[in-house]
């Protein structure tokens, strides 16, 4: 207290905690990810639910018209491949859409919820840095959701394949032919590739922008995120009668990405030849990632300053 300091300052070593204080750097990261899944349970419930609903529909369809599949498999022609894998592609696309929706809503809320419920004071009372927290939150749409959703996709593929095989066996169809048409491991990896490239890395600036706004806005984060974009786009249209900015943002979100494959037949067509080199070599990708990094740095800085709302 206010008593005069009674001795020369102790050696700084004495300041160091006596108890072992070693936590490996990865533990706060791991537990921060766990925290996100506890807080946002929809991150795993939604894809599983969508997959379950789709599987149920697929089951009804298979039971309803068991002969259709047998006829398709028996046809042996090249173009009927698309018809066989059609429902597989639809299911993958559905899950990708779910992933995009979840990513958008997650990012718009990520740094807002903890300020709104004042729990930021609890999180900040623990030895987890703002950098760790923000990077973990960014990793959810950029890495974790793509991996998770692809895993759900893979399981769904497997169940659909087993179901189709059962139907074929029951109707006397050619199961081997079906399996030849549906290399589900390859298809699942393609889904992962597609999610990571077209729906994570390419739109990274969009997600990071949402994260940044969620750490800044006091309420209506989504509105604050969209409003400036609409305003800039509108101004440009009025002033120059052009739509470069709107096109730019649109192409970042859903639309023209850097080339990720040689054909448009995607998401999971096993005949697709992917072109990761072309994707990684595209300047647009790196410009986007640079902008995303700037947004993230700003979000980290904001979290340092922000308290509860």
């Amino acid at each position: 207290m206010n008593t005069p300091s009674n001795a020369a300052p102790d050696s700084p070593l004495d300041l160091q905690p006596s108890a072992p204080a070693v936590v490996s750097a990865t533990r706060p990261v791991y537990w921060s990810i766990r925290r996100e899944f506890w807080e946002n349970r929809y991150l795993y419930i939604a894809p599983v639910a969508v997959a379950a609903v789709f599987l149920f529909g697929f089951l009804i369809m298979s039971i309803h018209s068991p002969g259709q599949l047998r006829a398709l498999v028996a046809l042996h022609s090249a173009h009927n491949h698309e018809e066989i894998s059609g429902s597989f592609d639809i299911s993958a696309a559905l899950l990708m859409g779910t992933a995009i929706l979840m990513s958008v809503f997650y990012c718009a809320e990520a740094l807002h919820g903890e300020r709104r419920d004042r729990s930021i004071l609890f999180w900040k009372s623990l030895p987890v840095s703002d950098v760790t927290t923000v990077l973990v939150k960014a990793s959810i749409p950029l890495l974790i959701l793509p991996v998770l959703v692809s895993a759900v996709t893979a399981v769904m593929y497997l169940l659909m394949l087993l179901l189709s095989s059962t139907v074929l066996l029951a109707t006397g169809g050619n199961v081997a032919m079906l399996w030849a048409h549906l290399p589900i491991l390859q298809m699942s990896l393609l889904a992962l590739y597609h999610l990571l490239t077209a729906h994570a890395l390419w739109p990274a600036p969009v997600y990071c922008w949402l994260l940044l706004v969620s750490g800044w806005a006091r309420r209506a984060t989504f509105l604050w995120a969209v409003l400036p974009i609409v305003a800039i786009g509108g101004l440009e249209k009025l002033a120059f009668n052009t739509t470069h900015f709107a096109n730019l943002v649109g192409s970042r979100f859903i639309g023209a990405t850097a080339p990720i494959a040689s054909t448009d037949v995607f998401p999971t067509n096993p005949m697709t030849h992917i072109t990761p080199a072309a994707f990684l070599g595209a300047p647009g990708l790196w410009i986007g990632l640079g902008i995303a990094a700037i947004f993230l740095a700003a979000a980290v800085r904001l979290r340092r300053y922000q308290g509860p709302i």
Binding site: M1, N2, T3, S5, P9, D10, P12, D14, L15, P17, A19, P20, A21, V22, V23, R27, P28, Y30, W31, S32, R34, R35, W38, E39, E114, D117, R118, S119, I120, L121, F122, K124, S125, L126, P127, V128, S129, D130, T132, R304, Y305, G307, P308
Partner: protein, 297 residues
């Protein structure tokens, strides 16, 4: 080595001065009550100490700069910043898992044994707990961390008296071990007066009074003066005078006890009484700096 050391600590929000050049030094092993009216700057001061807000001036907590090294500092510092900051979606078991996961000095068994004394179930979510139980849970988490500084900002606000008493009893019996430092702000001063080793009064962003409890007990005396001796008592320069039930109660600083016994009934004042006296003088003589320096040494 001081636990907390501040020199010229300032913080402004726009044109509002929240901290107006605070100098303070808190040694390790003390339990300090930081007391002040609403808006005096208590929470701002604590936020600066905890690295939650930037500031001007010099501040070292356990030898670290809290603003620059918050995450490092939080290995040695715990705080309960308010009641009900635990997220409502969190399960009790998840809270234990998480703190155990990220905190190098968390003793899970200790937290669990503390929780075992309560009615809190490990499967409950925070939203299912009463306000008092949430505080118990937070306290269980904090007390199981082997920290060197614990900061409590109105930790028992809104709790009933049973929980409040239990809270401070646990803190003293199960946690405080004389090497730890505890910094508390509260409005329920009377209840926890016996807990403190030191008190500090803060007003308008300045520390206006600071004193250890031993010093407090030896320096300040309160006298319920016999009506006919009031004039005589006033010549001894009381620092404060108030009326209660028609009697004058005078508060003296460094006046001989023998001398006062002759005037009426003498006792040690409560911190709240001294607070009123110091704050009353402070606001009255805010312009008259000399007198006010006299009060604050």
């Amino acid at each position: 080595m001081a636990c907390i050391e501040a020199r010229g600590l300032r913080k402004t929000f726009g044109s509002t001065v929240a901290l107006d050049g605070i100098d303070l030094r808190i040694e390790e092993g003390r339990i300090v009550g930081l007391i002040g009216p609403n808006g005096a700057g208590k929470t701002t001061a604590l936020n600066a100490i905890l690295g939650l807000t930037p500031y001007q001036g010099e501040l070292k907590v356990l030898g670290r700069d809290p603003w620059k090294e918050r995450d490092q500092l939080m290995r040695d510092v715990c705080f309960i910043a308010d009641v009900a900051v635990l997220p409502r979606w969190l399960r009790v078991s998840q809270a234990l898992d998480y703190v155990q996961g990220v905190h190098p000095r968390f003793d899970r068994a200790k937290a669990e044994s503390f929780l075992a004394k309560t009615t809190i179930k490990s499967t409950s979510k925070v939203r299912e707990l009463s306000k008092g139980m949430v505080t118990q849970l937070h306290l269980a988490l904090v007390m199981a961390i082997d920290a060197r500084l614990l900061v409590l900002d109105e930790p028992t606000l809104g709790l009933d008296i049973l929980y409040r008493k239990q809270f401070y009893d646990s803190l003293l019996n199960d946690y405080f071990d004389r090497s730890r430092t505890i910094l508390v702000t509260t409005h329920q001063v009377e209840e926890i007066q016996h807990v403190f080793t030191d008190v500090m009064f803060i007003d308008r962003g300045r520390i206006v009074f600071t004193c250890s409890m031993e010093e407090f007990e030896s320096r300040y005396l309160e006298v319920t003066v016999h009506p006919e001796r009031v004039a005589a008592a006033r010549t001894l320069k009381p620092m404060h005078e108030r009326q209660m039930l028609g009697r004058s109660i005078l508060l003296f600083d460094r006046v001989d006890r023998q001398q006062l016994t002759a005037l009426g009934e003498v006792r040690t004042p409560s911190i709240a009484d001294l607070f009123v006296a110091v704050m009353g003088n402070h606001s009255v003589v805010a312009q008259n700096k000399d007198k006010y320096e006299g009060v604050t040494r």
